[in-house]
Structure formats: structure tokens, C-alpha cells
């Protein structure tokens, strides 16, 4: 459900840029979010297809950069990318002294290709 609010905010941001940078059409948008941020790519795409109708972004391609979950391991003293969701121990040394260090990044608009 929050995808609807987020896409609405995205459209507002794009329109503000369009007024400032004087463009009238958006070919593609690049978005990013963390894989643990409880955002669903398909829901975002669906919300976008519905809400972008009759706006300057109608028909624009959506490109996603989905950031992986990461932990900091106090034994390895290193940031480690996790293959899946949150782990209970370090995948490298099996140590349990770990803390989540990435993957919950909120939705961002990184760049747009415009005419």
C-alpha cells in the first residue's frame, strides 16, 4: 500500500524538476532502495503504471538498483554483503557478533533520462 504514497511523491518530485529544468517528457527513471526496506518492486511498477497516466512520465521505463543486505562483523572487522535476507551469523567466520549495516535504504530517485 505505501507504494501508492511513494509513487505519488515521486511524481511530485519529477514535476518540480520538470518546471526547473524545462523538460516535457521523461524516458526513464532510475530508482534505488534496500532489499530489507519492505518495498516491493512489482507493487512500485504497478502503482507507477496507474498513477503516471496522463503525466509527463507516462510510459517511462523504470530502472531499479536494489541494494543488498549487509552486516558489519566485529570479528572480521569488515562490512559483508549477505546473499539473502538478514543472517544470524557472519557468513564468512560464523561469528555472532554482527550488526546490520545496510539494506534498509529508503526509496530514492537517482536519475532521469528526459527530453
Amino acid at each position: 500500500m505505501h507504494e501508492l504514497s511513494l509513487i505519488q511523491s515521486l511524481l511530485t518530485i519529477v514535476e518540480q524538476y520538470a518546471g526547473r529544468e524545462k523538460f516535457s517528457r521523461v524516458r526513464s527513471l532510475k530508482l534505488s532502495f534496500g532489499r530489507l526496506s519492505c518495498l516491493d518492486r512489482k507493487s512500485l511498477e504497478f502503482a507507477f503504471s496507474v498513477q503516471s497516466a496522463a503525466t509527463i512520465v507516462e510510459g517511462a521505463a523504470l530502472d531499479f538498483e536494489i541494494l543488498p543486505a549487509r552486516i558489519y562483523c566485529f570479528s572480521c572487522e569488515e562490512d559483508i554483503v549477505l546473499p539473502g535476507a538478514l543472517a544470524e551469523y557472519c557468513p564468512r567466520c560464523q561469528g555472532q557478533d554482527i550488526v546490520l549495516s545496510g539494506g534498509t535504504e529508503e526509496l530514492k530517485l537517482l536519475e532521469m533520462d528526459v527530453d
Binding site: 515521486l10 518530485i13 526509496l107 536519475e111
Partner: protein
């Protein structure tokens, strides 16, 4: 033409939340954004917290619900100022909804404002309303897998209240696992094991909250 933007989609809401925060600071109001699944015990915790702190602090409540006003009626019975926000389908309350109803409160006569969010473990964590702290409730019947499934809310909260501890014998909830996973996500999380029904464990929560509030008031004499 490529336009570099790098804009947080939540910026507009964050700006409104900062305006709310500035107003709360000026009026010396400590604000809690209370979040959980539906049925975890948000309104019960609000009722208990009112009972526990009303002798020392003037308390008001914002009740966020998709529709209806049962929860607000429960709070109004306690003689506490309460405003209901019906989100009309939205799954969270945001900065703007709170801003719009603030004129209905006499903020100068409030020390603690508890904002009870819509029951949902996902979206409320993303939308700041101008709170000092986010507090979340996890109830034992929901299961110990929630930190791993919904890490964002655990990461953003200052306190985790594990409610319905009185049901532990009847549900499969591994408390050690729930706590361990929560602390992997957020090392600074303060965790309280309570039962709003029997009132066990609530005193520690009250004490922690009093300390937080007194720090805030001490910085704004």
C-alpha cells in the same frame, strides 16, 4: 538528457515532520510515534502509560485508524484529550495528517503526545511525523520471526515493547531469538517484556520513558 537527482522520495514528508518537530520543541511537547501490527496492544499500552504517568505529566493522544473511532473513545473515557485521524484507507499516518490536526490541541498544556499509528509493520516506519522517538510493540502470538521479516521498523525504533508475555506458555515464541535478532538490527534498542493485561513489566517501561522525557525537558528549560 540525463538529469542526476539523488532525491529521497520521502523528503517532502520529512520537511513537514521537521516543521512539526520545531513546533513541538517550542511548546516543549515530547512526542512518541507508537507502531505495531493490528492487535498487538497499542491502545492497551497507551491506556496503561496514561495510568502510569498522568500524575506527573499532561498527556494527549492522536489515534490513527483507517476508519472508525473505537480506540479514540477508549482514550476519551480516561479524560485525556484525544483526536482521531481517519486515514481513509492509507496504511500509516504521515507528517501532513498530524500537522493538520495540531490546531485542535492546546500544545502549551501538553507534556507528552502519544501518536498511535495505524496497525501495520511496514509503512509507518517510513513516515516521520515529528516525533522524538519511535516505539514499537511486538506481541508474542505474532511470532518471533518479525524482526527478520520487518527489519526497518526495528531499526528505526528506540524501544521495543514485547507485549502479551502472559501468553508465552500458549504460543511458540522464542524470546531469546526475538531479542537477539532485534539487537542485530539495532544495537541501541531498549527492550521491555510486558503484559498490558497483568501489568507485569510496565514499571520498567515507565521509568525508561520518564528518563527520556526528563532529558528532553532539561534541555528546554
Amino acid at each position: 538528457m540525463l538529469v542526476r537527482t539523488v532525491t529521497n522520495i520521502l523528503d517532502a514528508n520529512n520537511r513537514i515532520a521537521r516543521d512539526n518537530r520545531a513546533l513541538f520543541d517550542e511548546k516543549k511537547v515530547f512526542v512518541i510515534n507508537l507502531m505495531s501490527s493490528p492487535g498487538a496492544g497499542k491502545t492497551s499500552l497507551v491506556e496503561r502509560t496514561i495510568d502510569g504517568l498522568r500524575d506527573r505529566y499532561r498527556i494527549a493522544v492522536i489515534e490513527g485508524d483507517i476508519q472508525d473511532s473505537f480506540d479514540a473513545e477508549r482514550i476519551a473515557k480516561l479524560g485525556i484529550p484525544v483526536i482521531q485521524i481517519n486515514t481513509g484507507g492509507a496504511c500509516h499516518i504521515d507528517g501532513n495528517m498530524v500537522q493538520e490536526i495540531l490546531p485542535n490541541f492546546d500544545l502549551g498544556a501538553i507534556d507528552l503526545l502519544i501518536t498511535e499509528n495505524v496497525g501495520n509493520l511496514v509503512c509507518p516506519a517510513e513516515f516521520n511525523v515529528g516525533e522524538n522517538i519511535k516505539v514499537m510493540i511486538l506481541s508474542t502470538p505474532e511470532g518471533d520471526d518479525k524482526p527478520r521479516k520487518y527489519p526497518l521498523m526495528f531499526e528505526k525504533s528506540a524501544a521495543l515493547i514485547i507485549n502479551k508475555m502472559d501468553l508465552m506458555a500458549h504460543v511458540s515464541f522464542n524470546i531469546d531469538k526475538a531479542i537477539k535478532d532485534s539487537l542485530i538490527i539495532n544495537r541501541n534498542l531498549s527492550i521491555f517484556q510486558v503484559s498490558c493485561k497483568t501489568q507485569a513489566g510496565l514499571e520498567q517501561w515507565f521509568e525508561w520513558l520518564r528518563d527520556r522525557m526528563n532529558d528532553f525537558f532539561a534541555r528546554r528549560p
